[in-house]
Symmetry: C2
Subunit: 117 residues, 2 copies
């Protein structure tokens, strides 16, 4: 279980970093869009969300990052970052074999070099 807790810590720290960045980013005045950091270590879901209203009229509900831990592996379901959550996780020592690029269709995953499931 130590491996799992390490994976949880890694995911959380990746998300916290992006959360800090999105909080400090310049935002137009009157922009009520709020970044949210969501960490559920019990059900093993990890998410960065942007929620709110732009200019009081345009609803914003966007999820730049979503990942889960399933069967000992990290499933990246959504990743809109430039460098890539998978790269950030590998920088923290997590092997490719324990990362699933779930934002790719199942039939494509064997060609990603990452875990299939």
């Amino acid at each position: 279980m130590d491996k799992l807790n390490h994976y949880r810590d890694c995911l959380q720290s990746v998300l916290e970093e992006h959360y800090r960045l999105s909080r400090s980013a310049l935002r137009p005045k009157g922009d009520e869009v709020e970044p949210q950091l969501i960490v559920d270590r019990e059900h093993d879901h990890y998410q960065l969300l942007r929620v709110g209203w732009r200019d009081n009229t345009e609803p914003i509900f966007g999820c730049p990052i979503h990942a889960s831990i399933k069967n000992g592996k990290i499933w990246i379901e959504r990743d809109q970052t430039e460098y890539g959550v998978a790269n950030e996780l590998m920088d923290r020592g997590i092997p490719k074999e324990d990362i699933v690029l779930a934002f790719h269709a199942p039939y494509k995953r064997p060609y990603t070099g990452f875990a299939v499931a």
Copy 2:
């Protein structure tokens, strides 16, 4: 703080019920879409998510329910349920004054009968 923990319990139980329903719903074969229950009582975000691939080719990433607790009130940011999360919360005894229908634009909220912020 007791009130807040009660609100957290209420939100969690509403979500758990919908999660159970979506897990037991009939799903077409080969449908790899998974409902996820996300409960983060530390940052106070609560979500129901549907993630996966339909027929191996169509990506599914949908959020039927998302709510947060901010300044002692429950902000319903997203609600695709028929009966309404707000109604479910009121059935559990939570007063309108502590519920924000945040899926309505800020300028509309004074006319909802619920809290404005």
